[in-house]
């Protein structure tokens, strides 16, 4: 989590210029008469002083001159510079928890399979990488990988099947606490989810490895795909100490790039790995990640051509960037949505006694639907996001073309419908104070939003005004993101607003399954037995067609229950210099497959 500065550069300039002009004018007017007279009177005194001090002026000019003459342009041929917001903490893919760490470790380390994005199907397509080919056994209980024999680690050792076995071992080891901790559910593991090497692997020669899965499990190819690490480097390090080991900073890698330099907090330099089978001489040969914590500075440097590519451009900057001919702006349909969370259950009762009872305000699906009807989501999308996003219907992004249900239409802004739904639920304004009541209970609550996020502040204000019109009193409470997340975990809030993103491949069980103890990500405490059953079926289904049917069924249930109010999907807006060619921006990321980029001669 880096520091985000939310000041728009333009307004800052205007403010500064205004301030400076105003004050200098003030000083000037106040002293005008005397000052001018003095200047004229003293001109014969001042001039010799200026001439005397000429050397100072010369010194100053020479300083400017040294500043002006660039030793070398930062944009060398075949070099691409990417602006990122914060430094990484490890090159080791085991611990690539942040997006940037994931991106960089993907360029340094390879996995068995190469996933590419299939725009048609809206899903990932597997292709060969370290494995030349693979075949499933007839009953899908095991898979055999045939490996390339021309891959070398950057210290000269040859990559082989032992590295694969070792990587599975390390990634699943609970002492290592890797990012795949506890996710190997279809493998032979011990009670701590550590993979049983003996039972799982069959290494017939150095370049052929068979992986056997648990009987009656439904393994998928993506479970075997992560970035493999070299056994000869990590085997002698005690498992608990791998996270803090020096080997994470001097990585021995086998990817399309090798680490050429890491200037902490300044830049990360990668060079094309000429020994890699992915190397093409005409593609980029140097990739620099420049760390610029301030968003405005990143945009400025993009305009100055000091940086070639920046992701997550804010909508207010798009116009300014579009004026620059050499920049191209590509919005990518997002994997992230903002939502307003409603506590579905009485969280205080649940915390004190473990009993589950519907929430007194948001317990009923009809009330939650009414709230969604009452929120003008299109206004937020058009006014703040300038249309760079889509209204959200459910938790599945539009990028998953086959999984998303096109028949579900989003709840349009309709105060009448909202009112009548609330009316049938017994919420009426009896005492005419402008706020709905049901018995002694008034419809008022606090909406918690994270600080430092102008988009969510804007949305919260719209929501507050919208809900006021149907007689619901909302108080907006802005708290620090860390505190908000803590409160979500602890189930301390009636209502909150935050973003969530969908992983590829989809995983819905974490956040929507009723069992709250096993699924702490079910922050809204959504309860539905039918949805649970579908989620269970999804986790064992492997046929893509049937899987998509199940997803659609699940979406229908969520649509009816509206456990949270899904607001909108936010586009990832990428701005890059047009000199970069052959760039494919897709949901897997803008920098994904950047070893295939070429740079146009300028």
């Amino acid at each position: 989590m880096g520091i985000r500065c939310n000041l728009s550069l333009k307004s800052l300039y205007l403010y500064t210029i205004f301030l400076y002009t105003f004050i200098s004018l003030f000083v000037f007017i106040k002293q005008n008469n005397k000052l001018m007279l003095k200047l004229l009177k003293n001109i014969h005194n001042i001039l010799p002083v200026i001439i005397k001090k000429l050397y100072l002026i010369i010194l100053f000019c020479s300083l400017l001159f040294t500043g002006g003459c660039e030793k070398e342009s930062p944009n060398r041929q075949n070099r691409v510079i990417i602006g990122i917001s914060s430094d990484i903490s490890s090159f080791n893919p085991l611990f690539a928890f942040s997006v940037d760490e994931g991106t960089i470790s993907e360029l340094l380390y390879l996995s068995l399979i190469n996933f590419t994005w299939d725009e048609e199907k809206g899903n990932i397509n597997p292709g060969p990488m370290l494995a030349k080919s693979w075949e499933w056994s007839e009953d899908s209980s095991s898979i055999t990988f045939y490996l390339r024999d021309d891959v070398y680690w950057s210290d000269g050792k040859k990559f082989n099947a032992e590295d694969i076995v070792f990587s599975f071992d390390i990634y699943s080891d609970p002492d290592v606490q890797s990012r795949l901790y506890e996710t190997f559910s279809d493998f032979y593991t011990d009670e701590k989810n550590h993979i049983d090497i003996e039972k799982t692997f069959e290494v017939s020669d150095s370049f052929k490895v068979k992986i056997k899965f648990l009987p009656n499990s439904t393994p998928t190819l993506s479970e075997t795909v992560f970035h493999l690490i070299p056994k000869h480097i990590f085997k002698d390090i005690e498992r608990k100490n791998i996270a803090t080991s020096e080997a994470n900073f001097n990585p021995v890698t086998n990817g399309p790039f090798i680490l050429a330099g890491w200037d902490k907090t300044q830049s990360i330099r990668l060079k094309a790995n000429k020994n890699s089978f992915l190397y093409k001489p005409d593609c980029i040969d140097e990739l620099i990640f420049k760390i610029v914590p301030d968003y405005s500075s990143r945009v400025t440097q993009l305009k100055k051509k000091e940086i070639d590519l920046v992701e997550l451009i804010k909508t207010e900057d798009i116009k300014g960037l579009q004026n620059e001919e050499y920049l191209k702006i590509t919005p990518q349909i997002g994997r992230e949505y903002d939502y307003v969370g409603w506590s579905n259950i009485d969280h205080e009762l649940y915390k004190s006694s473990g009993k589950i009872k519907p929430h007194k305000l948001f317990g009923s699906p009809a009330v939650r639907r009414a709230l969604t009807y009452a929120i003008n989501r299109k206004e937020i999308l058009d006014e703040y996001l300038l249309g760079y996003g889509q209204l959200a219907v459910g938790p599945i992004s539009a990028i998953f073309k086959d999984a998303v249900d096109p028949d579900l239409k989003y709840y349009e802004y309709d105060l009448g419908k909202a009112k009548s739904l609330l009316d049938t639920e017994g919420w009426k304004d009896i005492d005419n104070n402008g706020i709905l009541e049901k018995g002694n209970l008034e419809f008022k609550f606090k909406l918690y939003i994270p600080s430092g996020n102008p988009r969510r502040s804007y949305a919260a204000t719209v929501i507050k005004n919208n809900l006021k019109q149907i007689g619901i009193d909302v108080a907006i409470e802005t708290i620090e993101l860390g505190v908000l997340i803590d409160n979500m975990y602890e189930k301390n809030m009636d209502s909150w607003m935050i973003g969530w993103y969908v992983p590829i491949p989809l995983n819905l069980k974490f956040s929507w399954y009723s069992d709250l103890k096993k699924n702490p990500y079910n922050f809204a405490s959504y309860q539905n037995k039918e949805a649970d059953q579908i989620l269970d079926e999804i986790s064992i289904e492997t046929n893509p067609g049937k899987l998509n049917e199940l997803y659609k069924k699940f979406q229908k249930i969520i649509y009816e229950d509206e456990p949270v109010t899904f607001l909108y999907w936010v586009d990832n807006i990428v701005a890059y210099n047009r000199k970069i060619e052959n760039i494919d921006i897709n949901p897997l990321g803008a920098i994904h497959h950047c070893w295939e980029w070429t740079v146009k001669e300028q």
Partner: protein, 328 residues
Amino acid sequence: MKNRTAKLLVKRIISSIIILFLIITFIFFLVRLSPGDPSQKFISPSLSPNLAEKVRESLNLNEPVHMQYIGFLTSVIQGDLGVSYNFRRDVISVIMDYLPFTLLFTTMSFILQMIISFVLAVKSVKKINGFFDRTLSKLTLFLYAAPVFVTGVFIVFIFSELLNLFPSSGLKSYDFQDYNFLDKILDYLKHLILPIITLSLAEIAIFYRYLRDNLEDVFNKLFVLNLRANGVFERDILFKHVIPNAINPLITIAGIELGIMLGGTLIVEVVFGLPGMGRLTIDSILTRDYPLVIGCSLAAGTLIILANLIADILKASLDRRILEGILR
């Protein structure tokens, strides 16, 4: 006398250690009692929900706070501040990545501030209420009032965006390692010139105003009149009599300001993308990197105490009478 000074110095050092101990204790409890959790970065749809819990366990965060404190104290006494959760490295080694830059940057800027404000103040008092004096007092008031991020962005806009003379951020060029020694120095200078100007402007204003007012006060004292009446050169009056009498309050202020700057100059660091202590501290607070928060506070506290000690010693060396008073 020497013996006495040494004694007082030892006393001062002991009290400093007690202060530092209180600082880290206070912060230790404060960060743990405030809401938020270091395992937050392990909350993501693509990670196992139990990973955060596992991480908490391995960081000993599930133990009662007083047990954690005892463990912390034991390792601090052994000179170990723990491992940063974010950087996965020893806290001391992380701080050592950032501290040298902050020391260099702040000291350079501080020296510049001192020299410029001194020269300006001396020039000003040569003709009190003259043209130079009045213009400068208005200008410094304005510089003092303008927020640092405004001056920073303004300077970037003028010198980097409009004139394209200096790079707008960073500490060195990408090809830094290919340069020869002279080019390396020039490269640093080119990158540091805008941040140093930004950081210095406001401080120059403060120091200038202090020094100028003190000089004016001393100039109006009777002993100056007496010196003048005795025909002492104006130059000697200024340098031998007025300045030594006027400089004491400035040293106090300078000590405090230097200490604060050494703790980190957050805004300048963020605007110019520089690797300083300010950014490190804020990042560690926002991500709840407890050991690093404590490490940063300890470093900042030590530097503030040191800067003040140096200021006091300097003052004492100028005026023996106050030696005992301040070394208490």
